[in-house]
Amino acid sequence: MNRKILFAAAILAAATATAAAAQVRLPVIFPLGRDGAQPAPPSGIPGAPMSTGAMQADLVVKAGSDTVYFPPDGSGLNPNSIATLTAQARWLIANPFAYVRLEGHGGPLDSRDYALAIGDKRASAVRDFLVMQGVAPQRISVMSWGKERPGSVRVGPTVVAAGARVVTVVVQ
């Protein structure tokens, strides 16, 4: 696997700026380790309990992604994030027993503390949106990783640091 890590900030920022200006969609970004290796959504008896791993996979399939991205210096939702989160909210309403943890991340260029603070702010913005869409607040917990789990994503052939994002993690 090509492990050449580049700074995502510039690329993502450029992509986000383009998206905001021209309303074009971002390049499809697959979280590493999930692309191609996704277990198929279980097709068993409806309502059968699924493992959290299977539910996470189901969320990714149904909502398009478990991750929304942010500009390096902001915590506002862009049209792409809103589309993804609207679908995540639909999935949460369709799966009333699922609980999620929203994991916010700062960027590699933020200071240690500021990354923790802005990761929390981003995760809270996502929570507020999901609650506005009708998801019960007690089903959602929020945390920030700051820049402690930089992560990486594949954009076409290159792997870049994922940076500013919020990941919806099914916990139950």
Binding site: F7, R112, D113, Y114, A117, S144
Partner: protein, 440 residues
């Protein structure tokens, strides 16, 4: 590039140090007022075996460590004493001045090591002005054999303080976060060591990511941020007992602690409903008191040395900038105005300046600014220098830098006014350094 002649001189200076466990350091440009000092091997009364080796080898290592310490400053030229007879035990307190005058040294730092009946060592050191034939300082210690380094650092401090009039600098420790594992999911452990990288020990196990250590003013406790139990919170550890507990009785995420100079309070960041503000709490625990109330991010508090003010970061203007407020949260005012993002402000020991990280585009550098907001200076060249802290005497700034070759974050120092960046040796990668003097 370093000229060959200088390199040869450096090698000569370094040769006696190599292979003895001391960190080789490049000698700085000597100032014209540098004092030539002789540090002959310490005398022993009798060669006795200890847990830390025999007293003869300790006596030699003490002299080497003192020389290494003094060589890190521009105030001394450590004389080559290889060809001079090692002072005997009686000569430590009655030096043969003509010998040292002939060697053209200005100062003589001589001492002894002697094993005590209780298993400890007595280490004495004496500083003489060779020209006038006077003793100018002395220090004596009763230490466990494993603590000889502290005694040596304090002997070096005695000479440094006497010759320069500055505050002591060698008996100091650095707390930092040791990093290993993959960059995506690093193992981060709290660690402490002497300022030169010696006496290294880990404080946490690495099962939880930790960040941002802050020393208590007496140097016996460290507050830090931790993800232990899957929850971001400030913890406080007693280094002697290793007793380690959460600081706050609340569930809101807390991080980035900073001790007040009197050790009674800790300022920290706490998030609630997506908004991070600065709080203070009694360092023995209890409920935090809120200092900032803006809807923007307020974080990274650092106390002024008199405890009356707190520097912090806020993005209330639209980008992260440095602000200063009184210790109770009043009088908040912005002091940085340049483009880019500021982070991690930290107040100098003399209270005059505030060091920070400034990020412009993909580049982060360390800088300082007067506490009133004038005279901003950038002192490192990047590309990713972060998390500055001052040395206890204010002469240097320690920070983390990214080494592209190894893809690791490493610790380094730079003179507070800028200059040569030097690495601090650590067993693994290192980040978030904090530097403290030691007090009895």
């Amino acid at each position: 590039m370093i000229p060959t002649a200088l390199l040869k001189r450096l090698l000569l200076l370094l040769l006696p140090l190599l292979g003895l466990g001391t960190a080789p350091a490049l000698a700085q440009e000597r100032s014209p007022t540098a004092s030539v000092i002789a540090v002959p091997p310490f005398a022993i009364t009798k060669n006795v075996d200890t847990d830390a080796g025999n007293t003869w080898s300790i006596a030699n290592q003490i002299a080497d460590l003192i020389s290494a310490d003094l060589n890190t400053t521009s105030s001394f030229i450590v004389a080559n004493v290889k060809d001079i007879r090692i002072p005997s035990y009686p000569e430590v307190t009655a030096p043969s001045y003509p010998t040292w005058r002939a060697a053209r040294v200005k100062l003589l730092l001589s001492g002894f090591v002697s094993a005590r009946n209780d298993g400890r060592l007595t280490i004495g050191c004496y500083l003489y002005d060779v020209q006038s034939g006077r003793e100018v300082a002395r220090q004596g210690f009763a230490v466990t054999p494993g603590e000889w380094r502290r005694a040596a650092h304090r002997c070096a401090d005695a000479a440094y303080v006497e010759a320069t009039g500055n505050s002591p600098r060698f008996d100091s420790r650095i707390a930092y976060v040791a990093e290993s594992g993959s960059p995506d999911s690093p193992v981060k452990r709290l660690a402490v060591m002497d300022f030169d990288g010696a006496s290294h020990s880990y404080v946490t196990e690495g099962d939880a990511t930790v960040m941002s250590p802050s020393w208590s003013p007496t140097g016996n406790r460290v507050a830090y941020s931790s993800f232990r139990d899957g929850r971001l919170h400030v913890r406080i550890v007693d280094l002697a007992t290793r007793q380690d507990r959460p600081l706050l009785p609340v569930n809101e995420p807390s991080f980035g602690p900073a001790f007040s100079p009197d050790g009674r309070a800790i300022a920290l960041s706490m998030s609630a409903e997506g908004n991070t503000d600065i709080f203070t709490v009694d360092s023995s625990g209890g409920y935090p008191r809120r200092l900032t109330t803006s809807q923007a991010i307020d974080t990274s508090p650092s106390y002024s040395p008199d405890g009356n003010r707190i520097a912090f970061v806020s993005d209330r203007s639209g980008s992260p900038q440095i602000y200063v407020m009184d210790f109770d949260g009043s009088n908040q005012r912005r002091i940085s105005f340049a483009p880019g993002a500021y982070g991690s402000p930290t107040w100098s020991p003399d209270g005059e300046r505030i060091a920070f990280t400034r990020t412009e585009g993909p580049t982060s550098r360390i800088g300082t600014i007067a506490a009133g907001g004038s005279g901003e200076r950038i002192v490192t060249s990047g590309p990713r220098d972060e998390e500055p802290e001052w040395s206890p005497d204010g002469s240097k700034i320690v920070f983390q830098q990214y080494d592209a070759a190894t893809r690791r974050t490493l610790l380094a120092t730079v003179p507070a006014d800028g200059g040569e960046v030097r690495a601090i040796p650590t067993p693994q990668g290192g980040s978030d350094p904090a530097w403290a003097g030691r007090k009895e």
